[in-house]
């Protein structure tokens, strides 16, 4: 029976709890050191399929700024972060943009949308 103990540093909130996750035969059996439910969920996931929120920018034309910040609506599998970034590098949008507007839907079939993080109004 394979038993592995992972030291996991929680990144859900700024408190930054550290704890241990025990995995036996591919299943999380015990979690220690985490102080909230979100942290427990994060730690359990981190040892099996780690995910991260992704933020970057896409090009925007017709606005006062050349770039629009975008954010994933949910965490993305860690090993697909750079694929998402490459996808977004090729994206260009037109002002006006409203905060929350979907910029890329279901990126790479991961089931995660990328949304605009701010308004960008039209500048003549």
């Amino acid at each position: 029976m394979a038993r592995v103990v992972h030291a996991i540093q929680c990144i859900v909130c700024p408190i930054g709890c550290g704890g241990e996750v025990t995995v036996e035969d591919g299943t999380v059996t015990t979690l220690t050191g985490f102080t909230c439910n979100k942290g427990l969920a994060y730690a359990a996931k981190e040892v099996v399929s780690p995910k991260r929120m992704v933020t970057t920018t896409v090009r925007v034309s017709g606005g006062g700024l050349p770039l629009l910040p975008v954010v994933s609506v949910a965490p993305v599998p860690k090993d697909r972060i750079f694929d998402c970034l490459n996808l977004l590098r090729g994206v260009s949008v037109m002002a006006p943009i409203a905060e929350g507007e979907i910029v890329v839907a279901d990126a790479l079939g991961l089931g995660v949308d990328f949304r605009a993080a701010r308004d960008i109004s039209v500048v003549q």
Binding site: I11, G64, P69, R118
Partner: protein, 434 residues
């Protein structure tokens, strides 16, 4: 020159200025104005495109622009006046504010209450006296962040980050996302100055090494930076001989601390705390100049914007009350000191407490990392209150509500941090702001 009058004027339209103005309006100030030098509200949040903001304030994880957006919408839906592209040249005692903008020229505003909300600036290479040449390619992390996230230019391709402040850690990931190679982060202290979550998700996720206890001893390159020399330091921060090594790079980003941008306050003659670099304030966030309040990073540097918004709301409410003549008079007679283990405490003084007030909220920075600790209040030399903290890091602000009954009538308050005898049970709990 136009001359106008307002009840409350917030100088700065970042998170502190917006929260202060909104709270002032809500607390009954009739005429409220925000003066912002950029062409939009939001301040430095607009370039902080990463997520992690607002968990406390909005119970949801937002990006910097997303957090700013919430407040900008609230300001837009209010009748608060906003002057953009406008720089305050002077804010003099009596509330006379002189500003200038391309559209409106010079303007004088008479403000019954003024809230300083100018934020902070980054420490520079000069301030840390790093020897070497002075080539292009050495930027403060925040300046680089603006270029990358808002203007769309890269400050280099092979990057070394000096200092482990949060902006530096965030920029390590950002530059990696933009295709640059981040070679290492060097921190002179034996511990990081950034949040633990940022070390994990900005460095460890991408295999970027963090060298603690290392100092940059030279920057090289005649035209553009070509590399740096690094050495280990001992516990006295002295260079350890024969530990020097070179790292080639075309870009050095500095994340070596933030300093309140307090020149207006200094010029107006307000009393400053030599450690925070911000004003000395009481629990109303009133400075030594009556009618002048301060909040956010201009008062003391925060790690979370959520605390900035909350503190600014205190300042804004107080400013509104002052404008209506309802803020208790009597002077900030009682001193609050940072004792053993504590580097800074805000507020640094107490004015007479209002009847019915149950607790006073204090913000602390620890002097050094500690494990489980006791936050202690000594009132006139006697231990009056203590609370367990699970862990103490200088990078993370400690916020605690101290019951009024524990403060009592003591004239001298001193907070200390002591190692906890056993393991603390719970995380620091935050009470309701009364």
């Amino acid at each position: 020159m136009r001359e106008l009058s307002y009840d409350v004027v917030a100088i700065g339209g970042g998170p502190a200025g917006m929260a202060a103005a909104l709270a002032a309006r809500e607390a009954g100030a009739e005429r409220v104005l925000i003066i912002e030098r950029d062409r939009e509200l939001g301040g430095i949040l607009q370039q902080c495109i990463h997520n992690g903001f607002g968990l406390r304030r909005f119970e949801e994880e937002l990006t910097g622009p997303g957090y700013a957006h919430r407040y900008i919408e609230m300001v837009r839906n209010s009748d608060i006046d906003v002057w953009l592209d406008t720089t305050v040249l002077a804010a003099e005692p009596g509330g006379v504010i002189t500003s200038v903008s391309p559209q409106a020229g010079l303007q004088v505003v008479r403000a019954t209450s003024v809230v300083y909300a100018m934020g902070c600036r980054e420490r520079t290479r000069g301030a840390i006296r790093t020897p070497g040449s002075r080539p292009a390619g050495v930027f403060t992390a925040g300046a680089a962040q603006r270029m990358v996230n808002m203007e769309g230019y890269l400050p280099g391709k092979e990057v070394v980050i000096v200092g482990s402040g949060d902006i530096g850690l965030i920029m390590a990931r950002r530059m990696t996302f933009e295709g640059a190679k981040v070679k290492a982060v060097f921190e002179i202290m034996p511990y990081s100055n950034g949040l633990t979550r940022n070390i994990v998700q900005c460095l460890e996720d991408f295999g970027i090494p963090l060298y603690l206890g290392h100092s940059v001893t030279a920057i090289h390159g005649k035209d553009r930076v070509t590399g740096i020399t690094v050495s280990q330091v001992n516990e006295k921060l002295e260079i350890v001989p024969d530990t020097a090594f070179d790292v080639a790079c075309d870009c050095v980003l500095l994340s070596v601390g933030l300093i309140p941008e307090n020149e207006l306050g200094r010029a107006a003659g307000l009393m400053l705390d030599p450690i925070t670099g911000g004003a000395l304030v009481d629990q109303f966030r009133q400075t030594s100049l009556p009618g002048f309040f301060a909040a956010g990073n201009v008062l003391h540097v925060h790690d979370l914007v959520d605390w900035v918004s909350e503190e600014a709301a205190i300042a804004g409410r107080s400013a509104a009350r002052h404008a209506r003549g309802e803020l208790p008079e009597g002077g900030a007679a009682r001193q609050v000191a940072a004792g053993e283990g504590i580097r800074t405490v805000v507020p640094q003084r107490l004015s007479p407490l209002e009847p019915g007030k149950m607790s006073v909220r204090f913000y602390f920075r620890a002097a050094r990392p500690m494990g489980a600790s006791l936050l202690q209040l000594y009132a006139d030399g006697e231990l009056a209150f203590e609370r367990k903290l699970r862990i103490v890091k200088p990078s993370e602000m400690i916020v605690a509500d101290i019951p009024v009954r524990k403060i009592g009538a003591a004239t001298k308050l001193e907070f200390r941090l002591a190692p906890a005898p056993g393991k603390a049970e719970t995380e620091e709990e935050i009470g309701e702001e009364a």
